[in-house]
């Protein structure tokens, strides 16, 4: 199949999966937002974990199933679509949960229904379409677009499921087709303009899919101070059970089953695995290097995102994040072209190129996470925690430390942890830009997965996944105690009081205050 056809089929799948996912995300968002805080947290965790499960692990876990379906391309495609659906629903749900509420709230929408279309359609501003545009659709379109984009760019599972039966490729995947064309024809690297000839169509499709989200972000304004409550009706009991069922199903199918299969597959090989010290040493060196690259990329991406968001330069951030939104293959090829065109051959396979590529790929995720987590709390909250932390009382200092961790440290840890996780498991940019000795360990695992499942590979994959998880756990524990060891913990400078003006002045006054006359 030609690249344009595969691109078209991939786009069709992306839109179809996203449309099917849309009502599911609406239900999940309604259920989570109206649940108690504790249940909401648990539900959000259950929601997000499947999305964080690496695609190649999922594909590897189901590779035997897909082998059985090699002669049934329709079922193969359905299985693939179902796995994609389970993986992208969390993203759409998070968009609905965290996007600013639409102008037309749920109570306004109900009033509209009570008044009836006959009356409201008399006026342009209260007509049905105007209400749709200002209502839930305003947030659902970006959610659909983002989910479709993720499906459109998915290649790890597609690569492991890929079969041609009677001349038809299942599942169709433009990124696999472009990747093969790159390998087959040295696309772009002999003649950079070839990339554009092949790559313009997926690029245009990606932009189309992401445009509702970009439009929402571009036109987003800071929320007004007045808190307009958005009364949302709590879903019925049957719906709540359906929500629980869905969360359970996606967690089981996308995370639990793959993890359990890795453990079961690799169980018998663990003893011999640990005895192979040389391969263990090699694996740990590769893992450490992969982690180092992931960390550098995480730092760069998060510092840029934080800096620009703090300076309220959202639009600049959107422009910088755009290449990352186009997917790792498009981004990798763009960078390859840019290096060849402007920097000369050879530089595209360096650690610098690799770090730059991964940073750009992580930037949109960093921006989204910084926005969602609101990494830095308002100054007042932070200041209050600091006051407590500077107390002479040990209990109050401990309370202040806990508050600082909750307000800031935990959020930054979550941000760094998630970005590191994604950076560590990234495959395509590694393939295109990494020098031989810096190829990521996940990339090596993924290559070997195409040979089929075996115990040793399962054991190694499990270990590779545990590396970043373990490191994030260590960081969380260390980070919890970090405020007490850093230099600003016990400052000796006196408090700076304002001179009476609203701005924070630097005038000092005698800390022993004058008592007012009684």
């Amino acid at each position: 199949m030609s690249l344009p056809i595969e691109c078209g089929l991939t786009l069709l799948r992306a839109v179809a999966v996203a449309l099917v996912a849309c009502p599911v995300t609406a239900l999940l968002a309604a259920g989570i937002s109206t649940a108690s805080p504790r249940r909401s947290q648990l539900a959000t965790l259950a929601l997000v974990v499947p999305f964080l499960t690496p695609g190649f692990v999922v594909g590897y876990a189901y590779s035997n199933v897909t082998l059985s379906l090699a002669r049934q391309p329709v079922l193969n495609e359905l299985l693939y679509d179902l796995l994609l659906l389970l993986q992208v629903v969390p993203v759409g749900t998070l968009v609905l949960l965290f996007a600013p509420p639409p102008p037309l709230g749920p109570t306004a929408d109900h009033c509209r229904r009570l008044a009836g279309r006959q009356r409201l359609d008399r006026f342009r501003t209260t007509r049905h379409l105007a209400c749709l545009r200002n209502g839930e659709l305003r947030n659902r379109l970006p959610a659909i677009g983002l989910m479709a984009l993720l499906v459109f760019h998915e290649f790890e599972i597609a690569s492991l499921f890929r079969v041609i039966a009677g001349g038809r490729v299942t599942p169709a995947s433009w990124s696999n087709a472009l990747f093969e064309a790159t390998a087959l024809q040295g696309l772009g690297e002999r003649n950079p303009s070839n990339l554009w000839e092949r790559g313009w169509l997926p690029l245009v499709c990606s932009l189309m899919l992401i445009s509702p989200l970009l439009s929402l972000l571009w036109s987003a304004r800071p929320a007004p101070d007045a808190d307009i409550s958005r009364q949302r009706p709590r879903p019925r009991r049957g719906v709540q059970w359906s929500i629980r069922g869905w969360l359970g199903l996606s967690l089981a199918a996308v995370t639990v089953v793959p993890l359990v299969s890795l453990i079961v597959d690799g169980w018998s090989t663990w003893p011999s695995f640990w005895e192979g010290q040389r391969s263990l040493h090699s694996l740990s060196v590769q893992s450490a290097r992969s982690l180092a690259v992931a960390v550098v990329a995480t730092l760069l991406a998060s510092l840029v995102a934080i800096g620009l968001l703090q300076a309220r330069r959202t639009r600049s951030l959107i422009v910088l994040a755009l290449p990352g939104l186009l997917g790792s293959l498009s981004l990798g090829l763009l960078l390859t072209w840019a290096f060849l065109r402007f920097a000369g051959p050879g530089l595209q396979h360096t650690v610098i190129a690799l770090c730059l590529g991964e940073s750009l790929w992580l930037l949109p995720r960093a921006a989204l996470l910084v926005g969602l987590l609101t990494v830095f709390p308002p100054r007042k909250q932070h200041h209050l925690s600091r006051l407590l932390y500077d107390s002479p009382s040990r209990e109050q200092r401990a309370a202040g430390r806990r508050l600082l961790w909750t307000l800031t440290g935990k959020r930054v840890a979550l941000l760094c942890g998630l970005l590191c996780w994604w950076g560590f498991l990234e495959l395509t940019i590694n393939e295109l830009l990494a020098p031989a000795e810096w190829l990521s360990v996940a990339h090596r695992m993924y290559q070997q997965m195409h040979f089929g499942r075996n115990g040793a590979l399962s054991a190694m994959t499990l270990l590779v996944i545990l590396v970043p998880l373990g490191w994030i756990t260590v960081l969380s524990v260390v980070g919890h105690h970090l405020p007490s060891v850093l230099p600003w913990g016990h400052s000796r400078r006196p408090l700076a009081f304002s001179s009476g003006r609203r701005d924070s002045g630097s005038l000092r006054r005698d800390p022993v205050a004058q008592e007012p006359p009684s």
Binding site: S2, A183, P345, T408, G409, V412, A436, L482, L486, L495
Partner: protein, 362 residues
């Protein structure tokens, strides 16, 4: 009564202080990643000056990595390997070597076949070397100037699920001629040994029979998958009855206890398809001595024997102690000797590849 002064307090900028927090974490994060120290029980680090031999290897990492690790152990020369995906394998690496012409990073190219390596001749990318290893390999498996050399071969074979089909030439022929070919699988012929297979078929009559066969098999529902290993998996699991694969992939199925058997694929004329690995030194290498040592190492009888005794059961091409060969491999030696001549295929390969690209781009 004067009020007790409260402890002095400073209000830092939360932005700066939190960036410092991030940087502190970064130090913790990066630190261990920079210099991982080997465990006490691992072998001593290589002695050579810190430079590493970069090998592009199209052979399966499962078999190639132990060989290269043994080389490092014996010589102290560190090796960094770049493999490619199962799907694109040698072709991907060949193209990569061509496009890295201006700024080479590879020292030695270990291909899992000969075609592809011979492509590099046209780009003047190979360095002649006629070492001890080259000398022991028969002439038909090497470049006379020493720019490349073959070793440790595989055969293209029919793999058959014996629960569903007898592993006889007649049964295979009947299976291949069936109206519904959806129970047969091959790897995509754009890459790897299947590409070589197609090139050999093309060479017979400039592709006329091949084109007809290609169209016909697809019309009858032939399954194409990413690589030979997947073909083996499909047949071993019984999803397909028969397929084309390489002998090393077949033996993986045998070792897994699967009900599979094989027959050599024969071209019109009766020849089998014997595909040696090939090794070549890339022009521009700055580690000529180390590269030459690796080439001699790979072409040595010990390594050919090791590869023969490995799960891949590769067939030695140079003289080896037949008594040390596993029974499986001895059985294959006869078939290997009926292998078709692989030289003079450059033009056919180019034409076949051009046709395939157009075919799969429709």
């Amino acid at each position: 009564m004067p009020r007790r002064s409260s402890p002095p307090l400073r209000c830092p900028n939360p932005v700066r202080s939190n960036l410092a927090l991030e940087l502190a974490w970064a130090i913790l994060l990066i630190g261990p990643g920079c210099s991982p120290s080997p465990t006490p029980s691992t072998p001593p680090s290589p002695v050579v000056t810190g430079k590493t031999l970069v090998v592009y290897c199209a052979h399966d990492a499962l078999y190639a990595d132990p060989i290269l690790e043994r080389f490092t152990q014996e010589t102290g020369i560190a090796v960094q390997t770049r493999h490619d995906t199962e799907a694109t394998k040698s072709l991907g690496l060949v193209n990569r070597l061509i496009r890295e012409k201006a700024a080479r990073t590879c020292d030695v190219f270990w291909n899992n076949q000969v075609l592809g390596t011979t492509d590099l001749l046209a780009h003047d990318l190979l360095v002649p070397y006629r070492g001890s290893g080259w000398k022991r390999i028969p002439d038909r498996f090497k470049d006379p100037r020493g720019r490349w050399c073959g070793f440790a071969a595989r055969l293209r074979v029919w793999i058959v699920n014996t629960d569903r089909l007898a592993a006889t030439a007649t049964a295979i022929e009947q299976g291949f001629a069936a109206a519904d070919l959806s129970r047969m699988a091959i790897a995509r012929p754009l890459f790897g040994t299947t590409l070589t297979h197609y090139c050999l078929l093309w060479h017979v009559d400039d592709g006329r029979t091949l084109k007809a066969m290609h169209a016909d098999t697809r019309r009858r529902g032939l399954i194409e998958v990413a690589g030979n290993a997947t073909v083996k998996n499909l047949v071993a699991r019984g999803t397909c009855d028969l397929g084309w694969t390489d002998s090393d992939d077949f033996f993986v199925g045998i070792d897994d206890g699967r009900p599979v058997a094989m027959q050599p694929i024969r071209l019109p004329g009766g020849s089998t398809i014997c595909l040696p690995n090939s090794v070549a030194i890339i022009k521009g290498t700055r580690q000529m001595t180390a590269a030459q040592r690796l080439v001699d190492f790979l072409l040595s009888s010990e390594i050919e024997l090791a590869l023969a005794r490995s799960p891949s059961r590769q067939i030695p091409l140079g003289p080896t102690d037949q008594g040390q060969l596993p029974e499986d491999v001895r059985h294959l030696v006869g078939w290997a000797s009926e292998g078709i001549e692989l030289s003079g295929l450059t033009e056919s390969r180019a034409a076949c590849l051009a046709w395939l690209r157009a075919e799969y781009d429709r």
